[in-house]
């Protein structure tokens, strides 16, 4: 089985679906001839032709709006927003149009649209190349929201997203495009080849949207994480030696409620981690759900380790980015309660 980076896995998923289904089209800024600023679509125009993979003007609401129209007419557009930070001009088309079309028309029209975008920080991108807007999407009924944390899931989830009958926001944690990341001060960056999740089968397979994965079984405390934070959680566990269960949510909407509840009922403790700002971040939803569902099992308050409530700073990036040390302190605090 070939070893792939996240980028290669994403490209492979697109390649498989472009070959499979003539309705699939891929477009966005710089995705055509050049193959995307992160190279996720490199070579696809050459293989599948310019009618299937093409460049767009710099207008994110047009990209999504065209996608809505094409999807409604029966195609399967998979569009790229160059950075999640640039999705805001398209947020109206995403939240009011793509997400609403099936319901509003009583299923006369539907919107099987996939919107890919690189998300998160840790690449010295400053405030407009580092944001994690997942919470905003999860507040929109009608959307699905997925975040893979490794090449295997990236390919399987992207194929599932393209085959999904509803609009899916596909968030790509750019810090781990080329390898897992265990935190700024956690030694050398490792390539994907060091990890079993980088073994990616050829051809079509899917990872079900809505199912979490237990990355590390444990009995002391549950860590809810997704994207890059899965590796930060691994590192925090390594540093503290606490027997935490690490759940990689993979899909935020719909959420794998059962897997979460089962784990927290077992451990009685829970910490949530994400890069996005704290207030009204997705960690709030997780904490609110867990305290309600597992109230009688909880032995300590659920803590949220998140980005601070400030724009993502350039120079102070590593003071902003949730570190394994910070998470470790939270784990220790939770175990003391």
């Amino acid at each position: 089985m070939p070893t792939m980076t996240m980028i290669e896995a994403i490209r492979d998923a697109l390649d498989v679906k472009l070959a499979d289904d003539p309705g699939v089209v891929v477009f966005g800024e710089d995705v055509g001839f050049f193959g995307g600023v992160f190279r996720c679509t490199a070579g696809l125009q050459k293989t599948h032709g310019i009618e299937r993979v093409f460049d767009t003007p710099i207008n994110e609401s047009a990209i999504v709006g065209l996608g809505v129209g094409m999807a409604a007419q029966g195609m399967k557009p998979c569009v790229e927003i160059q950075f999640a930070d640039y999705m805001y001009p398209g947020f109206d088309q995403i939240s009011q149009e793509a997400a609403r079309l099936r319901h509003r028309s009583n299923q006369q029209f539907t919107c099987p649209l996939v919107i890919r975008m690189p998300t998160g920080g840790g690449i010295y991108g400053g405030q407009t190349h580092s944001q994690s807007p997942e919470a905003l999407f999860t507040h929109v009924a009608g959307l699905k929201v997925v975040v893979p944390s490794n090449p295997y899931d990236a390919k399987g989830l992207l194929i599932a997203a393209i085959e999904d009958p509803d609009p899916v926001i596909f968030l790509e944690p750019k810090r781990i495009y080329n390898g897992p990341f265990y935190g700024h001060s956690a030694g050398e960056a490792a390539g994907w080849s060091s990890r079993p999740e980088a073994q990616v089968p050829e051809g079509r397979y899917t990872v079900e949207i809505g199912k979490a994965a237990i990355r590390r079984p444990g009995s002391a405390i549950t860590i809810l994480a997704y994207g890059t934070m899965v590796f930060i959680a691994e590192e925090a566990v390594r540093q503290t030696g606490i027997d935490a269960e690490i759940i990689d949510l993979r899909s935020l909407l719909p959420l794998d409620h059962a897997a979460i509840v089962q784990s927290v009922e077992k451990t009685g403790r829970c910490v949530v981690i994400h890069e996005a700002t704290r207030t009204s971040g997705f960690g709030a939803e997780l904490a609110a759900e867990v305290q309600e569902a597992c109230f009688w099992h909880l032995k300590a308050p659920i803590q949220r380790i998140t980005g601070w409530d400030a724009p993502y700073p350039l120079a102070a990036e590593w003071d902003y980015f949730p570190s394994p040390q910070r998470l470790g302190r939270a784990l220790i605090r939770a175990m003391e309660d």
Partner: protein, 412 residues
Amino acid sequence: MVVGEAKLNFPGPPARPGGAPDFSLIEVPEPGVLPVPPLDIDAEASEPFAKGMIRVLDDAGNAVGPWADGMGSLDPAHCVQGLIDMLRMRIIDQRLLNAQRQGKSSFYLQCTGEEAIGCAFQRQLSPGDMNFPTYRQQSLLIAADYPLAALMGQIYANDCDPTEGRQLPTMHSSRDYGFFSISGNLGTQYVQAVGWAMANALSRNGQIAAGWIGDGATASNDFHSALLTASVYQPPVILNIVNNQWAISTCTAIAAGASRTYAERARGYGVPALRVDGNDYLAVAAVSRWAVERTRSGLGPVAIEWFTYRTAAHSTSDDPNAYRPRDEAAMWPLGDPVERLKAHLIGRGIWSEQQHAQKQAELFDEIVTTQKEVEQHGTFVNPRPFSPAKIFEGVYAHLPDHLRRQRQEMGY
């Protein structure tokens, strides 16, 4: 040249309530002056069409000029059908307005004075073509022979409504009748029409799309997105702009600024554009036919500004007497589309006052009969509620667990 100090400009209408209606700034070109351009005209060459106005019917009701000549195939039956479509539309609007006043629906919105545009345009389309309308293009449905019960059911939000009460009255949706589900957010669907048309081209299905936008909503970002992407990808889309002079209380100058016409703005994007007398059924039909043929032949997008006037209130939530002279509508220099087509048909000897009165009565009866039936299925004051569980249907194709839990919490 006055050189002074920077000062802002605040465009306003020529007359306000209490003042005399003033349309002196509106140029009304003679009918029959503009030629029929070649189907593959480009933006540059379309300049006179974007600045002028295509008109066919003159004040006496005669069809004049090259656009009239080219309409040889608009036979008497077709013309009479156009009049009937418009009459039906007007009666339906009136009946549904009254129903709202009687508390039978929560909201209504008329297209009075603008009937020619949707009625004549729709009759030039083919099955499979798709409109992306605004809330004021119910006339497209009428001329598509959309079942009246479905149209009225949507207004009453009862079980005759194909969308089962999901949306505000007038936000129709009918895939089968080429009428895309309307969004309450202005503008958004203009660029979706371009996307749909791109899908048409990519799948070589021979279908076209038509976007619709109001003069006020040309200010929205999606107007720009749509013109831009239509210009770049050249899909088979007609981008219609219905300039009815008003956007709720703001006059069209607030959206036009110093632009000469909306057609000219479209032309700036490299999209050929025409301006048309929207109260002239024959002009609308002729230009629509031309545009449909051009677009379907793969000659790229075209923008059309339909020049008209919003005779009625914006909606039942609005009172235009608060912001424009009470008799402004009556003074509108392009007249009334029903009256103008009627005069033309009578002039041609294929219609008469008597036939007109009789047809009107027939239509009225038909409409009232259907209305009564539909009202049996429930109205706003006398609702027949759907199962509340319907709220969760169609949020997604398959009900996810969290919605199942919420439905259970609701008791279903």
